[in-house]
Amino acid sequence: MMRLKSWPWRLLLLSFAGLVLLTLLLLLADFAGVPKGVVNGFFLVVSIIGYAVIGMFCRTTTPEEYFVAGRRISAPLNGMATAADWLSAASFIGLTGLLLSDGFVGDGQHPGGLAYLLGWTGGFCLLGFLFAAKLNLSQSITIPDFLGRRFDSAAVRWLAAWGAILCSSVYLVAQIYGIGLVASMLSGLTFELGVFLALGGVLLCSFLGGMRAVTWTQGVQCVVIVVSMVVLGMAVSLKTQGHPFVTIAAAQSLPQIQERAKQIETDPAELTTRDVISLRMSNLDVKIAEPVYAREVERQAVARQVARAKAEGASLREIQKLEANPAWRETSVDRLVGAWQAEREVLAEAIYRPVGFQVPLLNGWNQGWFNSLGLVFCLMLGTAALPHILVRSYTTSTPAEAERSVVWALGIIVMVYLCASALAVLLKSFVLTELVGSHLDQLPDWADRLKLRKLALLSIQDYNQDGIVQFADIRLFNDYLVLGVPEITHISSVFTGLLAAGALAAALSTADGLLLTISNALAQDLYFQTAEPNAPPLRRVMLSKILLMVVALLAAWFATNRPVSILFWVTCAFSLAASTFFPVLLLGIYWRGMNRVGALLAMVSGLVVSAYYIAANHPWVQMRLHLHASDTVWLGLDPVCAGVFGVPAGLLLGYLGSKLSRSA
């Protein structure tokens, strides 16, 4: 028994010591002049091999081990696995960039970064208070299994399985996209190859050992995630303020940032830039209103410019730049309008996002307040209802252990987020003091590097043509900006590798959990429940494994086919999960009157309302169906806040359905 208990900690301590040793060795290699690509690639290869070895070591065909890790994981290890499962590409890589770009309280219209920070942490309180112990007590295997048994209904289980598949798939595609970005950045491979390389590591882990292997791997990944973020925070703090306490360093930098932000906000050159951008937005509005006429006018203008350029012997690159104009390139009016709308969004972002951490003169309980509250609501309830997080309640031995593991998970997540928010402040000071105001020909070295790398983290457009960088000229790519921290802050490039290893661990661990949830729902809750209820255990595990591989390949194919906004889709997954599962779990666990009719209505109504709101407000759908935001937006809330409507709909119809069906 003692051997079993001490073994996890030996593995985790070993991984911690290994990571520290590896970092020190690579630091030495960096000082010795070993190329950055080699150093970064080493982190990638070592981490993927490490996860795969753990997966192979923990391989199993025993259902209890494969589906719920034998139900004997200790609270601290389960908490670490939950934290790694939770800390996804969006929250680990994206939060710093989000806080840096959108500020704390936002722009008065949309939610700022604080809403994400509070929503993503507070949801664990709900999970611990409401669901963790009850789910553990049920001894179920999946969330649909739990609901099917609670309501003694195959239909409830079937519907819950599809709900879990939908929520997890949306989340999974965003994770795999994140994996591709990080792997290609580390290895120098193309994005597509990066996706498939990293996916090999995921598959070796979850395919061979199911939840058992995933738990162990996630424990190690949690160590990598926490160490990379904390060490990075300490290094940046040391570099900027001379001590390793990142929160204090950020607090020390804030007054300087505020002062600089005020200077920039009143700088005439900045105001001119914003006027130019506003004018461009007005022109785009005119074009979008009359797209056919605007296309003809623009095409004629481009044709004249191209002819003149050719006559003057311009380079091929300059001619190609002119021909890249969407009016020249796009044949479909819908796609052209889409391109103009996308351009308009980028311009709007440039002038509406705050220079400091909030826009000036932001007074009153504006739309941003309601959007922030709505988003916090969706993220908290979504956290407490995400199937791949809930399923971790089954892997501990007792209800109290399940609850304690939630507190462990929250403790680890809070540690990472405290560093992420402090890093956002420190990075802001670099952007405002080093980049804004610099001459385009003499940009800081890090800005040039971030612009020119294959995965650009920064772009600069000189809107007022004065040759000086204004704040509105800068576009930061929030989703993965944090990967550029070592370059921006001039610390050793080894930290790029360490950070990317952490980011990869975050994306891989979440992808592992999601893949298991989807494949188990397909195999256990859909196929075996309906087609082969008496199938032998080995067959169940084998089919789950095959489906896991199929789902992984499908998600990889989807992610490599189109660019994905990681944060947007992850947030949508939270709203969908909150609407589909929170009402039915809450009423099902705590209200005796809830019956199968109520459960079905709660899930269907929550899912439909939420999915409708997200879809109807998506620019692609609006363009296809000729909808306008004014017709589809309710109470001014962003599409990611769909759960604000989905959850009450689920609760109301769950209650009414149960009451009415009983009286009928």
Binding site: V105, C125, Q358, V414
Partner: protein, 85 residues
């Protein structure tokens, strides 16, 4: 190491029934505390939109730690089924 499956591993129908109980009082107060802390902290940030230090030190740094303490406090309930397991 791979483990052979045994007859006892088969997914036999679960014998346990899912118990429906009232929400424990401590959990209820925990949820109330969560709502008050969240809405209060965000409200404070909106009430003083220019106080960036307050946003950072209180909302971004302190509130998540308070959530952790709240979560720890909220789960201090004895579970009768713990001994059985």
């Amino acid at each position: 190491m791979p483990q052979p499956s045994t007859a006892s591993d088969s997914e036999a129908p679960h014998s346990t029934t899912i118990e429906v109980t009232a929400l424990p009082r401590r959990a209820l107060w925990g949820v109330v505390g969560l709502v008050v802390l969240t809405v209060g902290s965000l409200g404070l940030a909106w009430l003083f939109p220019d106080m960036t230090s307050l946003h950072f030190l209180w909302v971004a740094q302190t509130v998540p730690v308070l959530y952790l303490m709240l979560a720890w406090w909220g789960i201090q309930i004895a579970h009768p089924n713990d001994d059985a397991s």
